[in-house]
Symmetry: C2
Subunit: 604 residues, 2 copies
């Protein structure tokens, strides 16, 4: 099987580094690649808000428009605040960089950890939600949820491994399809040409819950899931065609307008027609029936919703590898995350995200509902830190008009911080504690990795060359008897040094004479020492012998030359070289000792 | 954590090879070590036979004594036949050797494969059955079945790793405890001192099944599970103290007598008191109540039965490693199985058996009922081949009195062959096909391994030493830049050859000048070639460079010296050496190319 050819078919030809610029995003593809996560949230945000308000019956749902209004106000503030970020950080101003530069490293790493966790959960949860939308239409597929979810992740992964522009092309169609379908649904419902609405509207039945401030705050916090994904554009500024900041800012505003209009529209319509999330149908499905009846347009809207939910995962596939590459470049994650693959994308980040999210999907059997409470904490944590960072930046630089802009970001920071506190308070025991713990552990890991790389760089740096004088080199060749592989190792050893010693271990005293006789018959000129090992251990006596040689000869370098049998079939390796591996492992931490394997190739 | 110390505590001090003889088994410990599998079968054999006969109601169970009589006759024949084997093969005459020597290699390997499969199943099934006996008494433990089973396997494994004589000491007590408890139960029931029996005896209710020959054959075949484990002694002759054959033969007869008495006793008692396997209680449990009522003796009998079932696994732990060592010595399994460990036992076989049986236990969640149909096929396959081999041997040698002895073995071979056919016919679809398939695959694997070792031995043999002339040696040092690890690799390379070349790969044309300048500043005397890799690949351009060097210089040996970073913490290795590993893998199959890593040790 030619893996190289398969890889070429799936991922495409390698791209040269100098093509990096031509792989950038236009505004149109940028909107498609970076906004599917944000736009997909209109599929559930209104519903999430109404679910909380319903607990207080009609007096509760009467507040839907007011709470929705506050959420749209927050959306305006956050988008405006991120526009400032996009202009301030044309190289890509994710929460990580903004918080790190203005609030200090720890806050930056907290924001980064929060986003990495969130992106991973987004992939698992969105894909599972999209698969659910399909299996509700075709219940026969219910047994294949995990396989379908993994298939969706595989398709998204391959699309992203192919490269930014092509994945933009792959994902533009569904995003614009959703925008068209959802927009049409709102317009049709608003102008309402088809006469009276079918009476699907259910009234919330009387309950005992009162309309408290706490209830309204919880409704507000639940509805704020509409804002998830808004940060994607600011993280991806560098992926746009020049002028990057200007293009990114334009796309951010487009996205904000579409998102705001869709959320406002569906909240208004739900209020106007008394639609509530009761029974089997979602609010959007009911609005779809209201607009299109049971016509093909209804099914197109549902299909587009399912698609955009699966594609929300794609935004994470654009963001996670990019954020990981920043962390890799700054030595807070393994450097491999900062290396661009064949197709100029950060392949390692893409693959790690796919594997972890796929693992979550398998672990939860395709039903990732348990993950949803873990989910919004990360976004609002990064919103808060990012906007607080912008306040600090503006206040420090004090450029013209800074006060107004800082006030804007400050309001955004406070509002998102309140949402964060509410999210943590209301969901802590049902899973938010896991997110908090994961973020903490990741921050510790980032610091540990950074410390390691720092120590490594210090220890390895060598500006000056130390001249090499003639040095004493002793070569030890452990042998099992006379054989061609021994002969190969011995011939190679004689190439390296004049001072070569062969050594054999006999586990039975009866073998000693035979080994020595065979060796003498060879007459290779290299002396053989036979060690007797009454306890049948091999490695221990060899190490003792090497210690003895080091004590006697005091060499500058000691090389252990081992014959290594390379079988014609890979699985035949289990029959060979176990002792060689044990010797290598035992000598790995010895300074100035090198272990070399001389291959002996078996034919079939 | 000092693994060495932990191993010492669990397994004990290493033993010298010359202690091998003093680790042999006496007759008393030999009976304990080698008979628990056979004796444990009285716990279920009578019951298995009655379950088949019950299908025909009272006319069926009326045949219990007759069928039981045939089983005891078969037991006598098999034991007598194996006595001849024990005398003929003092070095250990398992079915493998007997069949191989007299019927040819393939039959020997079939017998060996059958036994290996059977031993593994015995461990999983016996341990699960023993755990079941405990959880029936304490249902609260039901959730911990897998953990308890794995714990039991771990204890047996450690006992066996400690060595033969000590494991004999560990396992003598429960075996003799079972013999005493079961014997007492039979004696008490026979002399019947406590007046009338409680009316636990249930009569088989009327059914439609007739008493056919097929039914009787199936009852016979089910009851023949009483014979499983009888072969253990003949496999283990070499483990006895001298005179090995005589001691083993004596133990075989002891075992046959005990087993026969217990099986005959419980079958007779079941018949006399009308005990049938109905309701929740086993036949043995009912007989126990009959003898001891609800006194402490009843619970001791149940406890002893549970213990002997778990210990039946121990017989497999004595047999599997020994058979694997024979196969390893004959190069049909990896040679490691033939090597004695620290404590003079075949540790690798013990560990492999523990891992595979533990894996089965986990896979089946502690409930290994599904494995039982797979199980008796192996034993009767090896019985048949072993006795057929003895017939052939006796008929070929024609020593005095051979005809009578051969007739004995021939009757045994035919009888066990009939049982084998019945087992296969009645259980084929419910699992025996898996056993048949596994045995076939194992035999193919044995031949494949044998062929590999044969080819290896031919290819590697070298009686003559080829003198080493001065040879051309070129050393290539791939570097990432100037650093101490590069300096170490370069210094070592200069020790090996005059002809050293350094090579770097630049993934960005901008790096080329910087690499070259840094290198020139070093002035090491080794020239540096910088390769530009527009597609950011590292290994490909390096291989091209090595090809070019080989074409230009035509060296006899080419060594690639790589710096290898050895971090202070093992998990830090994920940050380093990935490229080095890829280079090693790519060059593994090149003749006359050696890849050497020069360690650079990081401090914390």
């Amino acid at each position: 099987m030619d893996w190289r050819a398969i890889k070429r078919i799936l991922v495409g030809k390698p791209l040269e580094t100098l093509h990096l610029d031509s792989e950038r995003l236009s505004k149109v593809t940028g909107l498609a690649v970076l906004s599917s996560d944000a736009l997909s949230s209109v599929a559930y945000a209104t519903e999430a808000m109404l679910l909380v308000l319903m607990a207080a019956g009609p007096p509760g749902t009467a507040h839907a428009l007011a709470v929705g209004g506050f959420i749209i106000l927050l959306l305006v503030i956050v988008v405006a605040s991120y526009r400032q970020t996009v202009h301030a950080y044309p190289q890509g101003g994710g929460a990580y960089y903004v918080a790190k530069e203005n609030l200090g490293t720890t806050f930056g790493l907290v924001a980064a950890a929060a986003l990495l966790v969130d992106y991973t959960l987004t992939v698992a949860v969105s894909v599972a939600a999209g698969v659910d939308a399909i299996t509700s239409a075709f219940p026969g597929l219910l047994g294949h949820r995990v396989a379908m979810g993994l298939g969706a992740i595989a398709i998204i992964t391959i699309g992203n491994l192919r490269g930014i522009r092509e994945s933009g092309a792959i994902f533009s169609i569904p995003t614009y399809f959703f925008i068209a379908a959802f927009g049409l649904m709102i317009v049709v419902n608003v102008i309402h040409p088809f006469g009276s609405w079918p009476s699907v509207g259910a009234t919330a039945t009387g309950t005992t819950t009162a309309v408290t401030t706490w209830l309204l705050l919880r409704a507000f916090s639940s509805g704020c899931s509409a804002l998830t994904g808004v940060e994607a554009v600011s993280d991806g500024v560098a992926a746009f065609r020049p002028p990057e900041s200007k293009n990114a800012a334009t796309v951010l505003v487009w996205m904000g307008l579409i998102l705001g209009a869709f959320f406002a529209g569906s909240t208004y319509l739900a209020h106007r027609y008394g639609v509530l999330p009761v029974g089997e149908q979602t609010v959007i499905s009911q609005l779809g029936h209201g607009a299109f009846g049971n016509s093909v347009f209804y099914f197109l809207l549902q299909f587009a919703t399912a698609l955009i939910l699966i594609l929300a995962a794609n935004t994470s596939f654009a963001d996670f590898p990019r954020l990981a590459s920043f962390l890799g470049r700054d030595a807070y994650m393994p450097r491999q995350f900062a290396a661009r693959g064949d197709r100029l994308v950060f392949s390692n980040g893409i693959i790690v995200l796919a594997v972890v999210a796929g693992g979550l999907l398998v672990l939860f059997g395709g039903d990732t509902h348990a993950l949803i409470p873990l989910y919004a904490v990360g976004v609002f944590c990064s919103f808060t830190l990012s906007q607080a960072g912008m306040v600090r930046r503006l206040a420090t630089r004090r450029e013209r008009g800074w006060a107004g802009r800082a006030a804007f970001s400050a309001v955004g920071a406070v509002a998102t911080a309140i949402v964060l506190v509410i999210e943590l308070a209301t969901k802590f025991t049902s899973g938010a504690w896991i997110t908090a713990l994961l973020i903490t552990l990741l921050v510790f890991a980032f610091y540990e990795i950074h410390q390691h790389y720092g120590g490594y760089a210090r220890q390895i740096s060598a500006k000056e060359w130390q001249p090499v004088w003639p040095r004493k080199h002793v070569v030890v060749v452990p042998v099992a008897g006379v054989s061609k592989s021994t002969a190969g190792a011995l011939a190679y050893a004689l190439l390296l040094s004049q001072n070569v010693r062969a050594v054999a271990v006999a586990t039975d005293p009866a073998q000693v004479q035979k080994l020595q006789d065979d060796w003498d018959l060879w007459d290779s000129g290299v002396p053989l020492e036979v060690l007797v090992s009454p306890y049948r251990a091999i490695v221990g006596p060899l190490l003792d012998y090497i210690n003895k040689v080091e004590d006697e000869e005091k060499p500058d370098w000691l090389t252990v030359v081992l014959p290594e049998v390379v079988p014609a079939r890979w699985w035949h390796t289990i029959f060979h070289n176990q002792t060689a591996l044990a010797i290598k492992a035992a000598l790995l931490f010895r300074p100035r000792v090198v272990v070399t394997s001389v291959p002996f190739h078996l034919r079939r």
